[in-house]
Amino acid sequence: MRNTQRSQKIAFFFLFLATLLIVVPVGLIVVIIIQKGLPAINWQFLSDIPRQGMRSGGIFPAIIGTFYLVFGAIVFALPIGLLAAIYLSEYAKDNMLNRIIKLAIVNLSGVPSVVYGLFGLALFVVFFKFGASILSGSLTLGIMILPIIITTSREALESVPQSFREVSLSLGASKWQTIRQIVLPNAIPGILTGTILGLGRAAGETAPILFTVAAFYLPRLPKSIFDQAMALPYHLYVISTQVPNVDEKVRYGTALVLLVLVLFMNLVAIIIRYNFRKKKKW
């Protein structure tokens, strides 16, 4: 009896230690970024173009560029991802081939982002001749987040109880009516969560935009989808490693803006999911 209690205590201690080991460094990073970056944040920093070789001024073009890219990625990835998810969840037969496809899609979300970058370079920039442009960058980011969107949407669709589908069909609804009016509305929160997680990922990655869109320095806003653009993660990389003598404050300020953007999107995803869990009663 005593022995089990002691080993339980020891196990708890190590589990707690492991948790601490994860939480403390992440917390430290956040604290340091906030501490060093906050002094840089003011209206000019958020709304002005970079000046003096990016050593002062603001990061507005990078913020806008990131928004364009993320928006473009979603416009491309959400419809395709959702349709694929509907097919996989509602129409594809449960056989070996489809199980392999599902597994492959899950694993695609683990492919390093630089691979997507090279893929985007080869396909969109070079082969389709879109050049380094918002279009190429959005499509590349879109392809990168497709697996996340497909997998989370498929799981959201599959978690809608089979009994809802049966009732709907038993009332004389067609399969498509059932999907559109019963399955999809009940899966929307899950689909949104996946979409926002995808957004966060698209906003934060550097490698996929490195070769496909990112401008080193472009002190104006992009004019069309065939224009290059600045983007926050790449801008951060540039001012941290490529430009000498950038004030630490500016670097951490940029990091803070990016961090807040990504954390904010994740927070929205969490809130949506939480509200959904609370409401769902089946």
Binding site: S163, L169, S170, G172, I182, K280
Partner: protein
Amino acid sequence: MHNKIKMQAKDVDFFYGKNQALKNVNLDVYANRVTAMIGPSGCGKSTFIRLFNRMNELVPHTALCGKIFLDDLEINNPSVDPVDIRRRVGMVFQKPNPFPKSIFENISYGLKVNGIKDKAFIGQKVEDSLKRAVIWGEVKDRLHDSALKLSGGQQQRLCIARCLAVETEVILFDEPCASLDPISTAKIEELILELKKDYTIIIVTHNMQQAARVSDYTGFFLLGELVEFGKTQDMFTAPRNKKTEDYITGRFG
């Protein structure tokens, strides 16, 4: 037996993969009568009634041999659209399963998917169906509240109303009272007796007294076979088969 036959199963075998769930079942369902299916669980009652609205098609890797008729229509013929069958044969499930929508939307759903758009007509139909299912008084002041707020018994009557709104000819009940209290059960039994004026009813039940109270005909299933079928009265007073007798007198099951 001079009644009109509404539905009919002829030489029906049914398989889940390699597992045979129904063995050579032949059964006639009479119009405007209540036909009960009894038998221990796992003997194929649900599987059997789900053939009448082609619900078993949703389960992958299944196979059906034999024929199912609705009037003169062979409904399991591949050329027949299951949607057309389900507009004539409705179903109430074991677990009350309202959609997570309002009470009103639950009832109007079946009308909308059947292409009805006239708002006044839908409103009237919702009211009629709820009245018919004897739940109107309890919900008329909160038609736009979530159906999930209702009690289990109310939810089940709502599900019956939802089925009635589609105006089918046959209604299949799969253990509709299995999760309900005795008072709700009594209400639903009363309702079923009332409904048989206009509908042909098939009900699966675990409860022998319930079969005796509501049904005109009873079929006794055992391990996928229809052991005995006949008038409920005859079956409960003078069963022809020893196994039926053992079951209804509670000696096994």
